[in-house]
Symmetry: C2
């Protein structure tokens, strides 16, 4: 059963159905509306109904053709259908290189995002780079933010490589993009395989996400893409790292690379600091004035610091509002 | 968060809440309507809403206080909430000794039972034998069917023990019942630990269930309890075993023990054979005229036979309709 959305379906559904049919597979397809609102329990139920009506059994597979929303939704359906059937990710965005690896699947509850879900590893992640050609340039840049993040948490060499090849990446050069996505997925898979259920290590994948999520919550709908928000968050985390003793270079390299990628690195000055802090307080990683924060200690290296004070984070937020969006 | 139903709540919810409070736990409780209809996606969503409103986090636990329905429903909520939190089973029926061990949790879809679920092992199964005293005698007998089944698939000595102690078991003698439930849970846990995801071995736990499920589907609501249906199914499986070469003793012991337990061993003669066969065809274990069947080969021993013909099963069904419900 192929699950896709109404943006991706007109572009890639028919060719995929044709190729699977040529290979001898019987398929059925479900097209959901594009966007986060499809990550609902109601849509999850629709997928299960479609699966039952099409007669999927324990040996069937669900294929997610699309971005992160489709992957999360279809993945949770695959996790729950008959207590778990096979699942294949075919990401059509750069951002989904991150979500397609690692097995975190979920839908949203009206009261909170991603709280209904499972850990369900895909059998296969199949990246057809040609599908990325239809991405708007802004989505390309935002997607690269997560690729860059993988370097910043794990691999200084890959950070240098990204800086050297940023033009090729932005122009979707096949070789460069193929290497970067393979590398990014590899780092993600390495971290996840050491800590699938996020007891500790896996949390480093959240570099830039604490501030980033707060910015997304405070921004109007569509104002900041996820990748843009975490780009700003990563600059904040770098600033925090330097404050806590990391070499100044950590901030400089982070900033330079994100600016080169055409990503924002400053909090728009009209955002309210109190609102941002309040949104962060709602984040589950925050308790009583101190915060669990992913903090860079060197380029390509981070630590989980459970004792970052809320006061210091507020200072960083204020600094980010005065930060220039270029070098 | 304690999950229970409106039959169990008046009996045991307050004492449990009190004891947990005394032990220093903050609790919240959800009472669902008793019966299979609570195993729905709508009720699942209600539990998740209650969990979010009560502020459950990743370190919280969900406690299922009740029978199999409550365990399946609460267990799936625990499996999906924040991608899996801790889960404790407190079964209050004998039947739930079976479902509380092994981690199979699920809700129903209008089109099929138990098709939305997960494998989520409980941290703890806590059996308070005192709660069984409030069970109606018919439920006691039906519950013992699954206990007897554990013996028939795995342990001839335990089968003999059950026969010797059947009167104590039926009168809920504390020592006898405690031993039998511990033993039954132990066999179940042993089988499950060797094959959690039902690739092969775990399927032996379905002894009597293929015919049993079909009878449940054909019977009017409430006409046959699950344990009663599988008791009849186990006699059918024993007949099948003898046909396929097992010693006659397999049938005799099975029949004698189930009759001693006051369980039905014959298909009520007004049930339509065609309807029973049709219900079995719908069962996912059936393909093209042959059937995967759990077949006894000796007392306390079964095998998975993938080549049982539908024609032979039909003969067995007809025999069961002529079977006497006593020795």
């Amino acid at each position: 059963m192929i699950v896709t959305d109404d943006r991706v379906a007109p572009l890639y559904l028919a060719p995929l159905e044709r190729q699977l049919a040529d290979a001898g597979y019987a398929t059925t397809s479900v097209v959901v509306p594009g966007g986060e609102s499809s990550k609902s329990l109601a849509m999850f139920e629709k997928l299960l109904t479609a699966a039952l009506e099409a007669g999927l059994d324990r040996k069937s597979a669900i294929v997610a053709l699309g971005g992160g929303v489709v992957g999360d939704l279809a993945g949770f359906a695959a996790a729950a259908y008959m207590r778990g059937i096979k699942f294949v990710q075919m990401p059509t965005t750069i951002l989904a290189h991150d979500s397609s690896v690692g097995g975190k699947v979920a839908v949203n509850h009206p009261l909170a995002k991603n709280v209904i879900g499972a850990f369900h590893q895909p059998e296969l992640v199949l990246y057809d780079l040609d599908t990325l050609k239809t991405l708007p340039p802004r989505e390309v840049r935002a997607g690269l933010a997560e690729v860059i993040k993988e370097g910043l948490i794990w691999d200084a060499e890959f950070v240098s490589w990204c800086e050297e090849h940023i033009r090729e990446l932005l122009s979707l050069d096949r070789d460069a993009l193929g290497y970067a996505l393979y590398k990014g997925c590899g780092i993600k898979a390495e971290v996840v395989s050491r800590d699938e259920r996020e007891n500790d290590l896996r949390a480093i994948l959240n570099l830039g996400h604490t501030i980033g999520h707060a910015l997304e919550a405070v921004a109007g709908y569509g104002e900041l893409l996820h990748g843009e928000a975490i780009a700003i968050g990563m600059v904040g985390a770098a600033r925090l790292g330097v404050r806590l003793g990391a070499p100044q270079e950590v901030y400089e390299v982070t900033k330079r690379l994100l600016v080169a990628a055409g990503l924002p690195t400053a909090i728009p000055s009209h955002y309210d600091t109190d609102a941002i802090m309040k949104a962060m307080m709602h984040d589950k990683k925050f308790t009583e004035g101190t915060m669990l924060f992913v903090v860079p200690t060197a380029v390509g290296k981070v630590e989980l610091n459970p004792n970052v004070s809320a006061a210091m984070v507020r200072e960083i937020v204020d600094e980010l509002k005065r930060e220039a969006d270029r070098l």
